[in-house]
């Protein structure tokens, strides 16, 4: 049994019904595949879960945090929902666009950084909120952006 299958197996045993482990299995598979879920990752999850690939795909396509396309080594996510929008999220997005030379949804040519817009991240009181590689930076002003990009590229 591969490490991955064993790990998924352990997770399945923690739930009254093993199917509940599907989200955790997808997350683990994504981590093993460089931050996204190529078709073979979905097959691996299907095998480890004893489910059909279509059942895995149905779940993987539903949730925003499963990446079904390759992403950069780093990911910068900017919240543009109401509270962040009201205090200048757009200017923060623009600063990242300028520093990275890409638009939201794109990855820099060197494959280093993906820029993305997100819905409310639950940091509205510390807006504008930027999430870099799952870590919250709050608040971020446009003038903070060059240093963040430098750090990622450094």
């Amino acid at each position: 049994m591969s490490d991955f299958v064993a790990e998924v197996q352990r997770l399945r045993e923690r739930y009254p019904q093993g199917r509940s482990a599907i989200m955790g299995a997808l997350r683990m598979a994504q981590e093993r595949h460089g931050g996204w879920l190529p078709p073979e990752a979905l097959r691996e999850v299907a095998d480890a879960m004893d489910l059909a690939p279509a059942q895995i795909q149905a779940v993987a396509t539903f949730y925003d945090m499963y990446n079904l396309e390759p992403i950069g080594r780093h990911i910068v996510e900017v919240c543009t929902n109401l509270s962040c929008a009201l205090v200048g999220a757009k200017q923060v997005v623009e600063a990242f666009e300028e520093q990275l030379g890409i638009s939201p949804g794109e990855t820099s040519d060197d494959g280093e950084v993906t820029l993305r817009l997100i819905e409310c991240a639950g940091g509205c009181g510390y807006a504008p909120v930027v999430v870099v590689d799952n870590r919250y930076r709050e608040p971020v002003k446009p003038e903070d952006v060059p240093a963040i990009v430098e750090e990622l590229r450094g």
Binding site: F62, A85, C120
Partner: protein, 439 residues
């Protein structure tokens, strides 16, 4: 300073640590509750009239009483904590989990005792990684100290979907399916997780339970208002000088929160609108500053307390743009299960885009209202209602501004609105494939 019941002690001590939490009496309520028969615990929560903090304000005691006792149920019962917090404007559960994780865990354990469950699932939104780690550490500490007893507490991470905050969608997601709401009845206390009796409550609701047991019903009821005792952590954000979470007794007014705690509107601007309960609820105007922030008072004034997330909007924001940004969120988050919400949100976005661009006609504005009517109350879950309460109320309260876009053939802010051109992540993943509405 009024007495707190949720974040109590967190300013003075590092309550993420078990020893510190126990030093202020932590887990004392659990001990007390476990010495009581389960029905007596339910009775206390009932008498304290604790209302759910997740949005609907449903009495927790009623939910507890609806869970059949062990001899009347076919299998196990479960406690599920809703830590999916994704309502735009809300960030209170995050603070509770970060700062008083043990109080939340203690509340879960008391609830488990009350319904005689031995399994607790905490569904936390996937983005809350730091909070997940704090919570895991707290649970581990409690386990090592023998506080969990025979109860298993499992933290389940979500993966990015607002709809999974809706309780039946959350249960679907937790079972390993797409997070789409279930038709009800049956309600979760009867048939919830794995179709077993399930108590599902918000993080803050559960974190409020220890204070009830600790202080006793009478003292607890001295806080807040008759119809909603206790305190609430209000999330204050938007154009305000001091945004943040503020725990106050229920019934504090918007004025106290925004001007007292929040030090008023930022940059010396004028107040234009207030969203009292997260982006989903109908908007208030400045003449409603004296509305008390409790469930019934806010409802009597035409909105909902929701998740007690107050968003302050100053006079620089164009309301059509705000409506458009809000609606894009609901379009993005619609799970696609039912037609009015799936197609209607898309339709509203297209109409609002047209109006904002100055290309809207009178008929388009009427159609916005018409589409709202055709979604509200006709969708499977409340997300459909949320998607129209915001837009519908903006049109109702700020009709002049919508009208001006049509009369002038452009946005009256002429590019100077504070939220001009803000984009939404709608170009990425949506939960469902949607057809273009013909122009």
């Amino acid at each position: 300073m009024a007495e707190l019941t949720v974040l109590t002690g967190a300013d003075e001590r590092d309550l993420t640590r078990l020893d510190e939490y126990q030093a202020v009496g932590g887990y004392g309520a659990l001990e007390k509750a476990r010495a009581m028969p389960p029905e007596a615990v339910i009775e206390q929560i009932n008498e304290a009239a604790l209302r759910g903090r997740g949005g609907a304000g449903f009495p927790m005691g009623r939910k507890l009483s609806l869970v059949p006792p062990p001899d009347k149920r076919p299998g196990p019962a479960y406690v599920v904590a809703n830590a999916d917090e994704s309502e735009p404007g809300a960030f209170k559960d995050r603070e509770i989990m970060r700062r008083v994780p043990h109080r939340f865990v203690e509340g879960c354990l008391i609830a488990a005792h009350a319904i005689q469950a031995v399994e607790v699932f905490i569904y936390i939104r996937g983005e809350y990684l730091a909070e997940f780690l704090v919570l895991q550490a707290a649970i581990e500490e409690a386990r090592l100290a023998g506080l969990l007893g025979d109860v298993e507490v499992l933290v389940h991470r979500g993966a990015g979907a607002y709809i999974c905050g809706e309780e039946s969608a959350l249960l679907e997601s937790l079972e390993g399916y797409r997070g789409q709401p279930r038709p009800r009845p049956p309600f979760p206390p009867v048939a919830g997780l794995y179709m077993q009796p399930t108590l599902i409550n918000n993080v803050q609701t559960l974190a409020s339970v220890p204070a009830i047991i600790e202080l006793g019903v009478e003292r607890y009821k001295e806080l807040g208002v008759e119809s909603a005792p206790g305190t609430v952590v209000y999330s204050l954000s938007g154009n305000v000088n001091r945004p943040g979470n503020y725990e106050l007794p229920l019934g504090a007014t918007l004025r106290e929160l925004i001007f007292g705690c929040g030090h008023g509107v930022a940059d010396g601007r004028g107040l234009k609108a207030i969203i009292p309960g997260g982006s989903s609820v109908p908007v208030f105007t400045p003449d409603q500053l004296d509305v008390a922030l409790d469930f019934d008072a806010v409802q009597a004034a035409g909105s909902y307390l929701g998740s007690a997330a107050v968003i302050v909007v100053d006079d620089r924001a164009c309301m059509v743009q705000l409506a458009l940004r809000a609606e894009k969120f609901y379009m993005h988050e619609s799970c696609g299960k039912c037609t009015p919400c799936r197609e209607g949100t898309r339709w509203l976005v297209q109409l609002l885009e047209k109006i904002e661009a100055g290309e809207g006609t009178q008929a388009d504005l009427d159609l916005v209202v018409g589409v709202c009517d055709r979604i509200e109350g006709k969708s499977l879950c409340a997300l459909g209602d949320f998607a129209v309460w915001c837009v519908g109320s903006y049109v109702e309260k700020f009709r002049d501004e919508f009208q001006a876009h049509i009369d002038l053939g452009r946005c009256p802010y002429g590019g100077e609105s504070s939220i001009e051109g803000v984009s939404a992540p709608s170009d990425q993943h949506t939960h469902t494939a949607m057809a273009e509405v013909p122009a």
